[in-house]
Symmetry: C2
Subunit: 351 residues, 2 copies
């Protein structure tokens, strides 16, 4: 009356390699070899073991594997960003790379708290991760990770370290600014104003330099007073428009430090009866879809390719883990996403 069939019995916990060995009537080592494709076994044996293992739903314990010296195939990801506007695409890019290599990720959110960060690092070290990626805000450069004396590859993605020797990948803000400037010049605009974020932020300075460079190549100057620094908000965009219209009525283009400012600028211009792009062209920065696409007209803006940045960060860490040398600040090119706030691409011959 009892079930006497060959239903696999699993008394306690997951199937181990022992269970497989017993079921397949071979030794432990044979199972291991069969499943890992190592050693010298008849193909026949291999297949048999494989079949049994599958039937038993054997799933080798990664823990046990890592213990016996293999690579851990796990990395740590420390994020200091809580707002997450930028972290998320980066994070996804990183995962893309690591997924492809079947590497697991320990996620740690330090939330800017040094004590919490310390604990997370401790935990990562205790878990013997193969490497660490740090990501988060880059507004202010951070100190390098304190690895408690351990040696471990660390890569900084979208995160600036005080010492420029540490391997890190950042968007090419200068290039981004340049893209915007060139686009405006190509469209024949010549009275450009730059409305941007806090003056002390590195990205703000770089974007401005890029713009300046592009304008210069077209024989145009960007006088310092036409660079308005403020906060990263729509409200600042509105305020800036007041000043611009009052001070320089001949303005025909505004490059904004981010999309929120750009949205404020566009809204304010519309409210004042200034046509975008006919009277004034506007370029944003970030390509924050939800804002850029909803603006009326939709924003032409610079995209930092954060997903790609994450992907490459992942690759670089892998390189480091494999013993490769990676150092210093690298910059990933931005790209320009053309929507309607500068006029169609059709008119690009007009300049």
């Amino acid at each position: 009356m009892a079930m006497l069939g060959r239903r696999p019995v699993r008394p306690s916990g997951p199937v181990t390699i022992h269970d497989v060995a017993k079921a397949a009537q071979v030794s432990l080592s044979t199972v291991s070899k069969a499943l890992n494709g190592t050693g010298q076994l008849r193909e026949e044996t291999r297949d048999m073991v494989r079949r049994v293992a599958e039937e038993l739903r054997f799933r080798p314990s990664e823990i046990a594997r890592s213990l016996s010296g293999r690579q851990r195939r796990t990395i740590g990801l420390i994020s200091s960003d809580h707002h997450g506007r930028f972290s998320l695409p980066v994070l996804e890019g990183i995962q893309d790379t690591l997924d492809a290599e079947s590497i697991s990720v320990f996620l740690c959110n330090a939330a800017g708290d040094p004590e919490r960060e310390r604990q997370h690092i401790h935990s990562l070290l205790a878990n013997r991760v193969d490497g660490i990626i740090v990501t988060g805000t880059r507004a202010t450069p951070r100190h390098p990770l304190n690895l408690e004396g351990e040696h471990l590859p660390v890569f900084y993605a979208f995160s600036r370290v005080v010492d420029p020797d540490y391997p890190c990948l950042l968007p090419d803000d200068r290039g981004g600014g340049q893209l915007a400037g060139e686009h405006l010049c190509r469209l024949g605009r010549s009275h450009v104003v730059h409305v941007t974020g806090p003056a002390h932020v590195e990205a703000v300075q770089h974007r401005r330099q890029g713009l300046e460079h592009a304008l210069a190549e077209h024989g145009l100057a960007l006088p310092p007073e036409r660079v308005l620094t403020g906060s990263w908000s729509e409200a600042w965009g509105h305020e800036a428009v007041d000043r611009i219209l009052a001070a320089w009525p001949s303005t025909d283009a505004i490059f904004c430090g981010n999309d929120q400012i750009a949205r404020g600028v566009v809204d304010a211009l519309r409210a004042r009866g200034v046509r975008v792009p006919a009277d004034i062209a506007v370029v944003g920065f970030d390509n924050w879809e939800i804002i850029a696409a909803a603006t009326r007209p939709p924003l032409t803006t610079v995209d930092m390719n954060l997903h790609e940045l994450g992907r490459q960060a992942g690759l670089q860490l892998l390189t480091m883990i494999d013993g490769g040398e990676v150092r210093g600040v690298q910059r990933l090119p931005c790209s320009l996403v053309v929507r309607e706030s500068c006029g169609g691409q059709m008119s690009q011959n007009r300049g």
Copy 2:
């Protein structure tokens, strides 16, 4: 001439318990006991061992620990959301809970791809996690995780499962709609229109029901034709305003299904010279800071408390891991964030 000092020598890799034992001149087991507070040791011995361990920067391998039967103290987090507008706060809430318990998190981004999800689950199982939290979009109910026959606690946070028996935590959308409705009623508004997202979405239905309920309690009806369903976009907000002003000029309040719609509505109203909130009060949903606060006037809106939702999801999973019974759909109350789009709280006696 050689350095004969007692500089701790670390020939290869991390310090092990052996190294500590040797340095402290005691046995392995004594070190383990001293460091874990188990066994019977003189406080003196304990201290001594502790000191040596610290000096050597001994960091017990979590891997080895988990192998020898202890709890793994690690969970998996499967996220199917790539946009991440909602995942992020949830995710942070979860981490808050788990950090407090020193539990590590394996992050997996399935990105909606079943094959990728399968691989991640496999990896989590192989890593012997203690439990799994699934989070992501809830627009359409998902199938339960396929655990390959393994038994493991799984909790669904902000993610709907087809079978309502699975343990899951969702925002109380109905309650949220009710909050909005009550707020409007209290402010004396009586001609309410509801502009919301796709009709088939559960949250859309619930929010509408909540609104209806609140109105009913104040003797007001919400005729079906005054519920306008569309997309979750600003553009839809604009369009809806056209219809509303044409069809029901006496409208004095609009409850929007999310903040993007609300923003579109407010912008459109302003463009048509309708004053917000004087003529029409507007309530949003989501409390998406970046939109709600930047709208002019800033949006009064419903907050789903996603961070708290994540926190509680973490706690629930811990309960399950500890053997507790958790089942069925639970709802977390929303709260109302009052800004300016309905008028100040001052005027609440006006009704």
